[in-house]
Symmetry: C2
């Protein structure tokens, strides 16, 4: 690259999260950072978009290296306004979404606002990385995520010109000290789903309320090529993500039944 790389940064925990601050510092090692991040927590917002209300943006920080804007939309709205309104023809070299407080391995890729934004960013032909740490603590230790995030960003930027598009990586880092991480593994998405337990109580006015909580059910805990296996064995799990959700195996079977 001749000019300084431009990195677009977003997340779903808002521009106020510790993981976001870690990502700003990490991304600015590689070039000029333009961040548009939610102005409040947008965890679990998936690929959601805001159709029925106007959105507002305000500048939070602006200096030679870093521009940060807080946006009232979802993570995907942040990516959309970045590419379709702010950047337009300006060249962007990398999308980084995170660093998320909490794993986005397995089917979490579908619920995650962090991955929603990373996927959306990849639609614009820019290599995109969703970076998540398997720790929901607001004060989590991001040293391992920064260390391995740095290695992966460097490799993706170096190989960017020869890599096909769209390119989106779901990177999940185990919760342990950086020195205890065993390395990086390319993985496939683990099969599994969440089973919820609704915390059901009465509010101060006597109305029933429900609060979502649950546990991930891993359908293949012993499969060594999956992202959950890698995380639980202290590897950084990297899954390349694509968005064709067609179930090709079912296509011919259903053809016999439907018509």
């Amino acid at each position: 690259m001749n000019s300084e790389p431009v990195i677009f940064l977003t997340n779903d925990d808002s521009y106020l999260s510790k993981g976001f601050r870690a990502a700003v510092a990490l991304a600015s090692e590689f070039g000029h950072v333009i961040a548009i991040a939610p102005d409040r927590v947008q965890s679990g917002m998936s690929q959601a978009i805001t159709i029925n209300s106007p959105l507002f943006m305000r500048e939070v920080q602006r200096d030679d290296k870093v521009e940060i804007y807080a946006f009232s939309g979802t993570p995907v709205d942040c990516a959309k306004i970045a590419f379709d309104h702010i950047f337009r023809s300006r060249k962007v070299d990398l999308v980084l979404s995170g660093i998320n407080h909490g794993s986005n391995a397995a089917v979490n890729v579908m619920y995650s606002g962090t991955m929603g934004a990373a996927i959306e960013g990849s639609f614009y032909g820019v290599p995109s990385i969703g970076l998540s740490l398997d720790d929901h603590d607001p004060d989590a230790d991001f040293d391992g995520a920064v260390k391995y995030g740095r290695e992966i960003i460097a490799k993706v930027l170096a190989a960017a010109e020869k890599l096909p598009r769209p390119l989106c990586l779901n990177v999940n880092v185990p919760r342990c000290e950086a020195k205890d991480i065993q390395g990086i593994r390319m993985c496939r998405q683990t099969r599994g789903f969440w089973r919820e337990e609704f915390y059901a109580r009465k509010d101060p006015h006597g109305r029933d309320y429900y609060w979502l909580t649950g546990a991930f059910q891993n359908m293949e805990p012993d499969a060594e090529d999956t992202d959950e296996w890698a995380l639980s064995h202290r590897y950084v799990a990297v899954v390349p993500v694509q968005v064709d959700m067609t179930d090709y195996r079912m296509l011919s079977e259903m053809r016999d039944i439907i018509k």
Copy 2:
């Protein structure tokens, strides 16, 4: 089936929409309907879940054939509370999500709350159908969607025992009179994405605001096996949907680069 089938119904346009009412009537032709639907419009909510706030439910209608509850959560929250709290061990024979006002073909499957709920429902081992009409009009004509929805529901229920799980169908119906629909086609998801134009104005207080609007870019308009092609040629498009988003072609290529 020995006892009357139970159909779980939800959507993303809320229990007040015309499409939902059409779905209640359609589903009740097949058995007992239990509907838990959003209490307000939740279009574009994708696979979003509500993590950080309590949720409220209220009964809207209850008679021998139909129970309807309005829920304050997202479409996926509706499916989760249905299966993990309301039904639990009760047998459910079909999930129906819709009838949506607007197409969920192509990449819309990812943004759609209707499809989010249909996908979530399929995780519980129940055949699941997301049914959408390619017409956003609140007063749209659902005759064609009801006619072909009826045919597809009947075929899925009849074949349910021998069909593999999870089973989720994304059914999109063209906007035309029912008599002009050419039939049903099993399809794959069209490649393409949205390009947005943000409607940018000033609010009454002088602040800039942005409002999302855009157009779908079809990357393969001539591919006759795609859902967009089917819709534009007045066929009902049926895509079987799965949730492994791993890009298997990229897996080995990235292995050379990342490690």
